[in-house]
Protein backbone atom coordinates (compact mmCIF):
# COMPACT_ATOMS: atom_id res chain seq x y z
CA UNK A 1 0.00 0.00 0.00
CA UNK A 2 2.90 2.29 0.61
CA UNK A 3 4.54 3.90 -2.37
CA UNK A 4 8.04 5.18 -2.84
CA UNK A 5 7.09 8.46 -4.40
CA UNK A 6 4.11 10.68 -3.92
CA UNK A 7 2.46 9.00 -6.90
CA UNK A 8 -0.81 7.55 -5.69
CA UNK A 9 -0.97 3.79 -5.50
CA UNK A 10 -4.09 1.95 -6.51
CA UNK A 11 -5.97 0.02 -3.89
CA UNK A 12 -8.23 -2.82 -4.83
CA UNK A 13 -11.73 -1.47 -4.86
CA UNK A 14 -14.81 -3.47 -4.03
CA UNK A 15 -17.43 -2.22 -6.44
CA UNK A 16 -20.71 -2.55 -4.57
CA UNK A 17 -22.03 0.26 -2.44
CA UNK A 18 -21.98 -0.21 1.29
CA UNK A 19 -25.25 0.18 3.12
CA UNK A 20 -25.88 3.78 3.97
CA UNK A 21 -25.33 4.01 7.69
CA UNK A 22 -27.68 5.87 9.94
CA UNK A 23 -25.76 7.76 12.54
CA UNK A 24 -27.32 7.51 15.93
CA UNK A 25 -25.65 9.97 18.22
CA UNK A 26 -23.40 8.34 20.75
CA UNK A 27 -22.67 9.51 24.24
CA UNK A 28 -20.95 12.82 23.72
CA UNK A 29 -19.01 15.15 25.99
CA UNK A 30 -18.77 18.76 25.03
CA UNK A 31 -17.15 21.66 26.84
CA UNK A 32 -19.17 24.85 26.93
CA UNK A 33 -18.59 28.04 28.93
CA UNK A 34 -17.23 26.65 32.16
CA UNK A 35 -19.31 23.53 32.13
CA UNK A 36 -19.23 20.14 30.48
CA UNK A 37 -22.29 18.94 28.64
CA UNK A 38 -22.90 15.21 28.74
CA UNK A 39 -25.25 14.40 25.90
CA UNK A 40 -26.97 11.05 25.84
CA UNK A 41 -28.32 9.68 22.58
CA UNK A 42 -32.07 10.14 22.50
CA UNK A 43 -34.30 7.15 22.99
CA UNK A 44 -35.67 7.66 19.46
CA UNK A 45 -32.87 9.11 17.36
CA UNK A 46 -34.18 8.44 13.89
CA UNK A 47 -36.78 10.36 12.02
CA UNK A 48 -38.67 7.19 11.21
CA UNK A 49 -39.11 6.71 14.92
CA UNK A 50 -37.27 3.40 15.18
CA UNK A 51 -35.90 3.03 18.70
CA UNK A 52 -32.19 3.03 19.31
CA UNK A 53 -30.61 -0.29 20.10
CA UNK A 54 -28.46 1.30 22.77
CA UNK A 55 -29.35 -0.38 26.05
CA UNK A 56 -28.32 0.90 29.45
CA UNK A 57 -25.21 -1.34 29.80
CA UNK A 58 -24.05 -0.26 26.33
CA UNK A 59 -24.69 3.35 27.15
CA UNK A 60 -22.75 3.05 30.40
CA UNK A 61 -19.85 1.37 28.59
CA UNK A 62 -19.79 4.14 26.00
CA UNK A 63 -19.78 6.79 28.69
CA UNK A 64 -16.84 5.13 30.44
CA UNK A 65 -14.95 4.83 27.16
CA UNK A 66 -15.51 8.46 26.27
CA UNK A 67 -14.47 9.57 29.73
CA UNK A 68 -11.30 7.48 29.57
CA UNK A 69 -10.50 8.82 26.12
CA UNK A 70 -10.95 12.46 27.02
CA UNK A 71 -9.52 12.70 30.50
CA UNK A 72 -6.84 15.17 29.53
CA UNK A 73 -9.19 17.58 27.88
CA UNK A 74 -11.09 19.10 30.75
CA UNK A 75 -10.28 20.55 34.12
CA UNK A 76 -11.15 18.58 37.20
CA UNK A 77 -14.26 19.42 39.15
CA UNK A 78 -15.84 21.21 36.25
CA UNK A 79 -19.63 20.98 36.68
CA UNK A 80 -21.35 18.52 34.38
CA UNK A 81 -24.79 19.12 32.94
CA UNK A 82 -26.46 15.93 31.82
CA UNK A 83 -28.61 16.25 28.71
CA UNK A 84 -30.70 13.15 29.14
CA UNK A 85 -33.11 14.18 26.37
CA UNK A 86 -36.02 11.76 26.21
CA UNK A 87 -34.12 8.91 27.85
CA UNK A 88 -35.64 7.30 30.91
CA UNK A 89 -33.17 7.15 33.77
CA UNK A 90 -33.89 5.78 37.22
CA UNK A 91 -32.12 6.73 40.40
CA UNK A 92 -29.64 3.90 40.19
CA UNK A 93 -28.65 4.76 36.64
CA UNK A 94 -28.19 8.41 37.57
CA UNK A 95 -25.99 7.26 40.43
CA UNK A 96 -23.91 5.12 38.06
CA UNK A 97 -23.46 8.12 35.77
CA UNK A 98 -22.43 10.27 38.72
CA UNK A 99 -20.00 7.56 39.88
CA UNK A 100 -18.43 7.30 36.43
CA UNK A 101 -18.04 11.07 36.29
CA UNK A 102 -16.54 11.35 39.76
CA UNK A 103 -13.95 8.73 38.82
CA UNK A 104 -12.76 11.28 36.27
CA UNK A 105 -12.98 14.04 38.90
CA UNK A 106 -16.12 15.46 37.38
CA UNK A 107 -19.23 16.42 39.26
CA UNK A 108 -22.77 15.93 38.04
CA UNK A 109 -24.75 19.05 38.88
CA UNK A 110 -27.71 19.53 36.64
CA UNK A 111 -29.99 17.25 34.66
CA UNK A 112 -31.95 18.33 31.60
CA UNK A 113 -34.71 15.98 30.59
CA UNK A 114 -38.02 15.84 28.83
CA UNK A 115 -39.23 12.84 30.85
CA UNK A 116 -41.11 13.34 34.06
CA UNK A 117 -39.84 10.13 35.65
CA UNK A 118 -36.23 11.09 34.96
CA UNK A 119 -36.86 14.55 36.39
CA UNK A 120 -38.35 13.04 39.55
CA UNK A 121 -35.46 10.59 39.98
CA UNK A 122 -32.91 13.35 39.46
CA UNK A 123 -34.64 15.68 41.90
CA UNK A 124 -34.82 12.88 44.48
CA UNK A 125 -31.08 12.34 44.07
CA UNK A 126 -30.48 16.00 44.77
CA UNK A 127 -29.54 17.38 41.35
CA UNK A 128 -30.94 20.54 39.88
CA UNK A 129 -33.44 19.60 37.23
CA UNK A 130 -34.62 21.29 34.08
CA UNK A 131 -37.55 19.66 32.45
CA UNK A 132 -37.38 21.56 29.21
CA UNK A 133 -38.81 20.69 25.88
CA UNK A 134 -37.08 23.69 24.30
CA UNK A 135 -33.67 22.23 25.14
CA UNK A 136 -34.67 19.02 23.49
CA UNK A 137 -35.75 20.72 20.32
CA UNK A 138 -32.40 22.50 20.23
CA UNK A 139 -30.47 19.29 20.75
CA UNK A 140 -32.39 17.30 18.20
CA UNK A 141 -31.90 19.91 15.54
CA UNK A 142 -28.56 18.72 14.14
CA UNK A 143 -30.02 15.27 13.65
CA UNK A 144 -33.13 16.21 11.82
CA UNK A 145 -31.90 18.80 9.35
CA UNK A 146 -30.19 18.13 6.10
CA UNK A 147 -27.34 20.13 4.67
CA UNK A 148 -26.13 21.43 7.98
CA UNK A 149 -22.50 22.01 8.87
CA UNK A 150 -20.63 19.13 10.46
CA UNK A 151 -20.42 18.84 14.20
CA UNK A 152 -17.25 19.99 15.92
CA UNK A 153 -14.39 17.52 15.60
CA UNK A 154 -14.26 14.75 18.15
CA UNK A 155 -10.87 14.50 19.76
CA UNK A 156 -10.01 11.28 21.58
CA UNK A 157 -6.90 9.88 23.16
CA UNK A 158 -7.25 6.15 23.59
CA UNK A 159 -6.62 2.78 22.04
CA UNK A 160 -9.74 1.66 20.24
CA UNK A 161 -9.92 -1.98 21.14
CA UNK A 162 -11.86 -4.75 19.44
CA UNK A 163 -15.59 -4.25 19.73
CA UNK A 164 -15.51 -0.48 20.20
CA UNK A 165 -17.22 1.68 17.62
CA UNK A 166 -16.91 5.44 17.49
CA UNK A 167 -19.54 7.30 15.52
CA UNK A 168 -19.51 11.03 15.13
CA UNK A 169 -21.34 13.45 12.85
CA UNK A 170 -18.12 15.34 12.14
CA UNK A 171 -14.38 14.81 11.92
CA UNK A 172 -12.71 12.37 14.30
CA UNK A 173 -9.15 12.84 15.53
CA UNK A 174 -7.77 9.92 17.46
CA UNK A 175 -4.47 9.77 19.30
CA UNK A 176 -3.78 6.07 19.58
CA UNK A 177 -4.26 2.85 17.71
CA UNK A 178 -7.37 1.59 16.01
CA UNK A 179 -7.11 -2.13 16.69
CA UNK A 180 -8.59 -4.82 14.46
CA UNK A 181 -12.24 -5.40 15.31
CA UNK A 182 -12.93 -1.76 16.15
CA UNK A 183 -14.33 0.90 13.89
CA UNK A 184 -14.65 4.62 13.39
CA UNK A 185 -17.55 6.07 11.42
CA UNK A 186 -17.43 9.80 10.84
CA UNK A 187 -19.32 12.22 8.65
CA UNK A 188 -16.09 14.19 8.17
CA UNK A 189 -12.41 13.23 7.96
CA UNK A 190 -10.73 10.60 10.09
CA UNK A 191 -7.26 11.29 11.40
CA UNK A 192 -5.51 8.51 13.27
CA UNK A 193 -2.32 9.47 15.03
CA UNK A 194 -1.30 5.85 15.44
CA UNK A 195 -1.79 2.49 13.77
CA UNK A 196 -4.96 2.03 11.81
CA UNK A 197 -5.87 -1.66 11.76
CA UNK A 198 -9.61 -1.60 12.15
CA UNK A 199 -12.41 -0.43 9.91
CA UNK A 200 -12.90 3.26 9.24
CA UNK A 201 -15.57 5.07 7.27
CA UNK A 202 -15.06 8.74 6.47
CA UNK A 203 -17.74 10.91 4.91
CA UNK A 204 -20.34 8.42 6.03
CA UNK A 205 -23.16 10.75 5.00
CA UNK A 206 -21.89 10.62 1.43
CA UNK A 207 -19.18 13.27 1.23
CA UNK A 208 -16.53 11.77 -1.08
CA UNK A 209 -14.16 14.68 -0.42
CA UNK A 210 -13.41 13.26 2.99
CA UNK A 211 -9.99 11.84 3.83
CA UNK A 212 -8.57 9.15 6.03
CA UNK A 213 -5.14 9.75 7.47
CA UNK A 214 -3.03 7.45 9.58
CA UNK A 215 0.55 7.18 10.70
CA UNK A 216 0.49 3.50 9.87
CA UNK A 217 -2.16 2.37 7.42
CA UNK A 218 -3.00 -1.33 7.81
CA UNK A 219 -6.79 -1.20 7.80
CA UNK A 220 -9.18 -4.11 7.73
CA UNK A 221 -11.26 -1.98 5.40
CA UNK A 222 -11.41 1.64 4.30
CA UNK A 223 -14.63 3.36 3.37
CA UNK A 224 -15.09 6.87 2.09
CA UNK A 225 -18.64 7.87 1.25
CA UNK A 226 -19.87 5.03 -1.01
CA UNK A 227 -16.45 3.58 -1.78
CA UNK A 228 -14.99 0.54 -0.14
CA UNK A 229 -11.42 -0.73 -0.30
CA UNK A 230 -9.41 -3.22 1.59
CA UNK A 231 -5.74 -3.42 2.30
CA UNK A 232 -3.49 -5.43 0.01
CA UNK A 233 -2.90 -9.04 1.04
CA UNK A 234 0.77 -8.42 1.73
CA UNK A 235 1.55 -5.64 4.15
CA UNK A 236 4.27 -3.27 3.00
CA UNK A 237 7.77 -3.70 4.37
CA UNK A 238 7.89 -0.18 5.68
CA UNK A 239 5.21 2.21 6.84
CA UNK A 240 4.85 5.91 6.21
CA UNK A 241 2.09 8.26 7.23
CA UNK A 242 -0.50 7.93 4.48
CA UNK A 243 -3.68 9.51 3.23
CA UNK A 244 -6.61 7.70 1.64
CA UNK A 245 -8.84 9.66 -0.74
CA UNK A 246 -11.39 9.06 -3.43
CA UNK A 247 -10.62 9.20 -7.14
CA UNK A 248 -12.92 8.28 -10.01
CA UNK A 249 -11.20 4.88 -9.95
CA UNK A 250 -11.96 4.33 -6.29
CA UNK A 251 -10.03 4.79 -3.10
CA UNK A 252 -6.32 5.56 -3.48
CA UNK A 253 -3.61 5.90 -0.92
CA UNK A 254 -0.67 8.28 -1.07
CA UNK A 255 2.21 9.28 1.14
CA UNK A 256 1.10 11.97 3.51
CA UNK A 257 4.19 14.08 2.94
CA UNK A 258 3.27 16.77 0.49
CA UNK A 259 -0.15 15.27 -0.12
CA UNK A 260 -2.09 18.49 0.18
CA UNK A 261 0.43 20.29 -2.03
CA UNK A 262 0.51 17.78 -4.86
CA UNK A 263 -3.22 17.27 -4.92
CA UNK A 264 -4.18 20.76 -6.08
Amino acid sequence: MTVDSSVPSPVETIPETPPQPVLPLQVHLKGEEGRLLLLLPPETPNLDGSPTSLTWPDLWLQLKQRLNAGERFWQTNIPVHLMAQDRLLDGRQLQEIADALSESQLKLERVYTSRRQTAVAAAAAGYSVDQLSAAIAFLNKPNSQTGQALAEPLYLQTTLRSGVEVRHPGTVVLLGDVNPGSSVVADGDIIIWGRLRGLVHAGAKGNAQCLIMALQMEPTQLRIADNVARAPEKPPAEFYPEVAYVTPQGIRIARATGFVRTRD
Binding site: K64, N68, R161, S162, G163, P180, R197
Partner: protein, 269 residues
Protein backbone atom coordinates in the same frame (compact mmCIF):
# COMPACT_ATOMS: atom_id res chain seq x y z
CA UNK B 1 -3.90 -5.06 51.97
CA UNK B 2 -4.91 -8.01 49.88
CA UNK B 3 -4.81 -8.11 46.13
CA UNK B 4 -7.76 -9.34 44.12
CA UNK B 5 -6.73 -10.46 40.66
CA UNK B 6 -9.07 -11.80 38.01
CA UNK B 7 -7.62 -14.13 35.41
CA UNK B 8 -9.50 -13.82 32.18
CA UNK B 9 -9.14 -14.10 28.41
CA UNK B 10 -12.34 -13.75 26.44
CA UNK B 11 -11.65 -16.81 24.33
CA UNK B 12 -11.99 -20.24 25.87
CA UNK B 13 -9.29 -22.86 26.02
CA UNK B 14 -6.27 -20.59 26.20
CA UNK B 15 -5.24 -21.66 29.68
CA UNK B 16 -7.03 -19.43 32.19
CA UNK B 17 -7.72 -22.20 34.64
CA UNK B 18 -4.30 -23.81 34.24
CA UNK B 19 -2.72 -20.43 34.81
CA UNK B 20 -4.89 -19.74 37.87
CA UNK B 21 -3.95 -23.08 39.41
CA UNK B 22 -0.25 -22.69 38.74
CA UNK B 23 0.08 -19.02 39.63
CA UNK B 24 -1.97 -19.63 42.79
CA UNK B 25 0.28 -22.51 43.84
CA UNK B 26 3.42 -20.58 42.97
CA UNK B 27 2.38 -17.58 45.07
CA UNK B 28 1.41 -19.85 47.95
CA UNK B 29 4.81 -21.53 47.79
CA UNK B 30 6.32 -18.09 48.31
CA UNK B 31 4.64 -18.00 51.69
CA UNK B 32 1.53 -15.96 50.95
CA UNK B 33 -2.00 -16.86 51.97
CA UNK B 34 -3.83 -17.48 48.71
CA UNK B 35 -7.48 -18.08 47.89
CA UNK B 36 -8.37 -19.18 44.38
CA UNK B 37 -11.99 -18.61 43.41
CA UNK B 38 -13.68 -20.54 40.64
CA UNK B 39 -16.11 -18.10 39.01
CA UNK B 40 -17.04 -20.52 36.25
CA UNK B 41 -20.41 -21.54 37.64
CA UNK B 42 -21.87 -24.52 35.85
CA UNK B 43 -18.61 -25.44 34.11
CA UNK B 44 -16.18 -25.55 36.97
CA UNK B 45 -12.73 -26.97 36.30
CA UNK B 46 -10.37 -25.37 38.75
CA UNK B 47 -11.04 -28.07 41.36
CA UNK B 48 -10.01 -30.74 38.84
CA UNK B 49 -6.74 -29.04 37.98
CA UNK B 50 -5.93 -28.65 41.63
CA UNK B 51 -6.94 -32.24 42.33
CA UNK B 52 -9.45 -31.15 44.93
CA UNK B 53 -12.67 -32.32 43.34
CA UNK B 54 -13.41 -35.09 45.82
CA UNK B 55 -13.00 -32.79 48.80
CA UNK B 56 -15.67 -30.27 47.88
CA UNK B 57 -18.59 -30.26 50.30
CA UNK B 58 -20.07 -26.77 49.94
CA UNK B 59 -19.80 -24.28 47.10
CA UNK B 60 -19.97 -20.52 46.71
CA UNK B 61 -23.70 -20.76 46.01
CA UNK B 62 -24.24 -22.49 49.37
CA UNK B 63 -22.37 -19.67 51.08
CA UNK B 64 -24.52 -17.06 49.35
CA UNK B 65 -27.68 -18.96 50.26
CA UNK B 66 -26.61 -18.87 53.88
CA UNK B 67 -26.38 -22.64 54.12
CA UNK B 68 -22.85 -22.61 55.40
CA UNK B 69 -20.14 -20.20 56.40
CA UNK B 70 -17.53 -19.10 53.90
CA UNK B 71 -14.93 -20.79 56.08
CA UNK B 72 -16.65 -24.15 55.65
CA UNK B 73 -16.85 -23.94 51.87
CA UNK B 74 -13.14 -23.28 51.43
CA UNK B 75 -11.22 -26.38 50.41
CA UNK B 76 -7.72 -26.58 51.82
CA UNK B 77 -4.91 -28.12 49.85
CA UNK B 78 -2.93 -30.81 51.66
CA UNK B 79 0.16 -30.31 49.55
CA UNK B 80 0.17 -26.56 49.95
CA UNK B 81 -1.54 -25.50 53.20
CA UNK B 82 -1.40 -21.83 52.30
CA UNK B 83 -3.77 -22.27 49.37
CA UNK B 84 -7.55 -22.63 49.56
CA UNK B 85 -10.14 -23.05 46.83
CA UNK B 86 -13.61 -21.55 46.83
CA UNK B 87 -15.43 -23.89 44.48
CA UNK B 88 -18.19 -22.89 42.11
CA UNK B 89 -21.47 -24.75 41.99
CA UNK B 90 -21.65 -27.23 39.16
CA UNK B 91 -25.44 -27.62 39.18
CA UNK B 92 -26.18 -23.95 38.53
CA UNK B 93 -25.63 -21.49 35.70
CA UNK B 94 -23.88 -18.15 35.59
CA UNK B 95 -27.12 -16.38 36.47
CA UNK B 96 -27.20 -18.00 39.90
CA UNK B 97 -24.88 -15.27 41.16
CA UNK B 98 -24.87 -11.50 40.78
CA UNK B 99 -21.86 -9.16 40.61
CA UNK B 100 -22.81 -7.72 44.00
CA UNK B 101 -22.78 -11.16 45.59
CA UNK B 102 -19.38 -11.90 44.09
CA UNK B 103 -18.11 -8.62 45.47
CA UNK B 104 -19.33 -9.62 48.92
CA UNK B 105 -17.63 -13.02 48.74
CA UNK B 106 -14.38 -11.51 47.59
CA UNK B 107 -14.30 -8.80 50.21
CA UNK B 108 -14.98 -11.44 52.85
CA UNK B 109 -12.02 -13.46 51.56
CA UNK B 110 -9.88 -10.33 51.50
CA UNK B 111 -10.02 -10.18 55.28
CA UNK B 112 -7.95 -13.36 55.57
CA UNK B 113 -6.05 -13.87 52.35
CA UNK B 114 -3.28 -11.83 50.81
CA UNK B 115 -3.92 -12.91 47.25
CA UNK B 116 -7.29 -13.75 45.78
CA UNK B 117 -7.18 -15.15 42.28
CA UNK B 118 -10.47 -15.36 40.43
CA UNK B 119 -10.71 -17.81 37.56
CA UNK B 120 -13.06 -16.21 35.05
CA UNK B 121 -15.18 -18.15 32.58
CA UNK B 122 -14.76 -17.57 28.85
CA UNK B 123 -16.96 -14.99 27.22
CA UNK B 124 -18.03 -11.49 28.18
CA UNK B 125 -21.48 -12.20 29.53
CA UNK B 126 -22.83 -12.59 33.04
CA UNK B 127 -20.12 -14.98 34.20
CA UNK B 128 -17.41 -12.56 33.13
CA UNK B 129 -19.16 -9.66 34.82
CA UNK B 130 -19.41 -11.69 38.02
CA UNK B 131 -15.76 -12.63 37.86
CA UNK B 132 -14.49 -9.08 37.47
CA UNK B 133 -16.91 -7.55 39.97
CA UNK B 134 -14.63 -7.73 42.99
CA UNK B 135 -11.29 -7.48 41.22
CA UNK B 136 -8.82 -4.60 41.38
CA UNK B 137 -6.41 -5.97 38.82
CA UNK B 138 -6.42 -8.46 36.00
CA UNK B 139 -4.21 -10.94 34.26
CA UNK B 140 -5.08 -11.53 30.63
CA UNK B 141 -4.18 -14.94 29.28
CA UNK B 142 -3.84 -15.33 25.55
CA UNK B 143 -2.21 -17.68 23.10
CA UNK B 144 -0.31 -16.40 20.06
CA UNK B 145 -3.31 -16.81 17.76
CA UNK B 146 -5.26 -13.98 16.16
CA UNK B 147 -8.61 -15.16 17.50
CA UNK B 148 -7.35 -15.29 21.08
CA UNK B 149 -5.59 -11.94 20.74
CA UNK B 150 -8.68 -10.32 19.24
CA UNK B 151 -10.84 -11.53 22.12
CA UNK B 152 -8.22 -10.50 24.65
CA UNK B 153 -8.24 -7.02 23.12
CA UNK B 154 -11.99 -6.78 23.55
CA UNK B 155 -11.78 -7.97 27.14
CA UNK B 156 -9.06 -5.43 27.97
CA UNK B 157 -11.36 -2.69 26.68
CA UNK B 158 -14.15 -3.95 28.92
CA UNK B 159 -11.86 -4.18 31.94
CA UNK B 160 -10.67 -0.63 31.38
CA UNK B 161 -14.25 0.54 31.18
CA UNK B 162 -14.93 -1.22 34.48
CA UNK B 163 -12.08 0.78 35.99
CA UNK B 164 -9.67 -2.12 36.29
CA UNK B 165 -6.56 -0.27 35.22
CA UNK B 166 -3.81 -2.64 36.23
CA UNK B 167 -3.90 -5.27 33.52
CA UNK B 168 -1.00 -7.57 32.77
CA UNK B 169 -0.47 -10.07 30.02
CA UNK B 170 0.41 -13.75 29.99
CA UNK B 171 1.17 -15.21 26.58
CA UNK B 172 0.62 -18.93 26.85
CA UNK B 173 1.65 -21.88 24.72
CA UNK B 174 4.46 -20.33 22.75
CA UNK B 175 6.35 -22.61 20.43
CA UNK B 176 9.68 -20.91 19.84
CA UNK B 177 10.51 -23.00 16.82
CA UNK B 178 7.30 -21.94 15.11
CA UNK B 179 7.85 -18.31 16.07
CA UNK B 180 11.29 -18.47 14.57
CA UNK B 181 9.95 -19.96 11.37
CA UNK B 182 7.44 -17.09 11.24
CA UNK B 183 4.55 -19.54 11.59
CA UNK B 184 3.39 -18.15 14.91
CA UNK B 185 2.95 -14.70 16.38
CA UNK B 186 5.76 -13.76 18.70
CA UNK B 187 5.25 -12.33 22.16
CA UNK B 188 6.20 -8.95 20.72
CA UNK B 189 3.55 -9.25 18.01
CA UNK B 190 0.92 -9.94 20.65
CA UNK B 191 2.11 -7.09 22.82
CA UNK B 192 2.13 -4.68 19.94
CA UNK B 193 -1.60 -5.10 19.52
CA UNK B 194 -2.64 -5.40 23.14
CA UNK B 195 -0.30 -2.71 24.46
CA UNK B 196 -0.32 -3.87 28.07
CA UNK B 197 2.66 -4.89 30.22
CA UNK B 198 3.82 -8.47 29.95
CA UNK B 199 4.03 -10.51 33.14
CA UNK B 200 4.84 -13.90 31.69
CA UNK B 201 5.45 -15.93 28.57
CA UNK B 202 4.87 -19.63 28.90
CA UNK B 203 6.20 -22.18 26.44
CA UNK B 204 3.98 -24.91 25.10
CA UNK B 205 4.69 -28.02 27.12
CA UNK B 206 3.18 -31.48 27.03
CA UNK B 207 3.75 -31.81 30.72
CA UNK B 208 1.11 -29.18 31.33
CA UNK B 209 -1.44 -31.62 29.91
CA UNK B 210 -0.12 -34.44 32.05
CA UNK B 211 -0.21 -32.35 35.21
CA UNK B 212 -3.70 -31.14 34.38
CA UNK B 213 -4.98 -34.67 34.02
CA UNK B 214 -3.35 -35.72 37.28
CA UNK B 215 -4.68 -32.75 39.20
CA UNK B 216 -1.19 -31.70 40.16
CA UNK B 217 -0.25 -28.20 39.09
CA UNK B 218 3.05 -28.17 37.26
CA UNK B 219 4.70 -25.84 39.74
CA UNK B 220 4.35 -28.47 42.50
CA UNK B 221 6.49 -30.95 40.62
CA UNK B 222 10.16 -31.55 41.21
CA UNK B 223 11.15 -31.52 37.56
CA UNK B 224 11.49 -27.87 36.81
CA UNK B 225 10.23 -27.62 33.29
CA UNK B 226 10.46 -24.27 31.55
CA UNK B 227 6.71 -23.82 31.87
CA UNK B 228 6.89 -24.33 35.63
CA UNK B 229 9.75 -21.86 35.88
CA UNK B 230 7.74 -19.39 33.83
CA UNK B 231 4.81 -19.72 36.25
CA UNK B 232 7.10 -19.27 39.24
CA UNK B 233 8.50 -16.16 37.59
CA UNK B 234 4.98 -14.75 37.17
CA UNK B 235 4.42 -15.22 40.90
CA UNK B 236 7.66 -13.42 41.66
CA UNK B 237 6.78 -10.54 39.36
CA UNK B 238 3.34 -10.27 40.95
CA UNK B 239 5.17 -10.00 44.23
CA UNK B 240 7.06 -7.01 42.91
CA UNK B 241 10.35 -8.69 42.07
CA UNK B 242 12.17 -7.83 38.91
CA UNK B 243 12.77 -11.08 37.06
CA UNK B 244 14.34 -11.40 33.65
CA UNK B 245 12.09 -13.02 31.10
CA UNK B 246 13.07 -16.55 30.19
CA UNK B 247 14.91 -17.08 27.01
CA UNK B 248 12.53 -19.55 25.46
CA UNK B 249 15.09 -20.38 22.82
CA UNK B 250 16.99 -22.04 25.62
CA UNK B 251 20.34 -23.82 25.25
CA UNK B 252 20.25 -27.31 23.79
CA UNK B 253 20.40 -28.86 27.25
CA UNK B 254 16.94 -27.43 27.97
CA UNK B 255 13.95 -29.59 27.48
CA UNK B 256 12.93 -27.63 24.43
CA UNK B 257 15.79 -29.03 22.46
CA UNK B 258 14.74 -32.44 23.65
CA UNK B 259 11.22 -31.83 22.50
CA UNK B 260 12.46 -30.52 19.20
CA UNK B 261 14.68 -33.51 18.80
CA UNK B 262 11.75 -35.67 19.74
CA UNK B 263 9.75 -34.14 16.94
CA UNK B 264 12.70 -34.42 14.65
CA UNK B 265 13.21 -30.75 13.96
CA UNK B 266 16.66 -29.34 13.49
CA UNK B 267 18.44 -28.01 16.52
CA UNK B 268 19.38 -24.38 16.11
CA UNK B 269 22.78 -22.96 16.67
Amino acid sequence: MSRVIVITSGKGGVGKTTSTANIGMAIASRGHQVAVVDADFGLRNLDLLLGLENRIVYTAVDVLAGECTLEKALVKDKRQPKLVLLPAAQNRTKDAVTPDQMKRLVSELAKTYEYILIDSPAGIEMGFRNAIAGAQEAIIVTTPEIAAVRDADRVIGLLEAHSIKRIQLVVNRIRPAMVEANDMMSVQDVQEILAIPLIGAIPDDERVIVSTNRGEPLVLGENNSLAAVAYHNIARRLDGEKVEFLDLNAPPSGFFARIRRFFGSKPRS
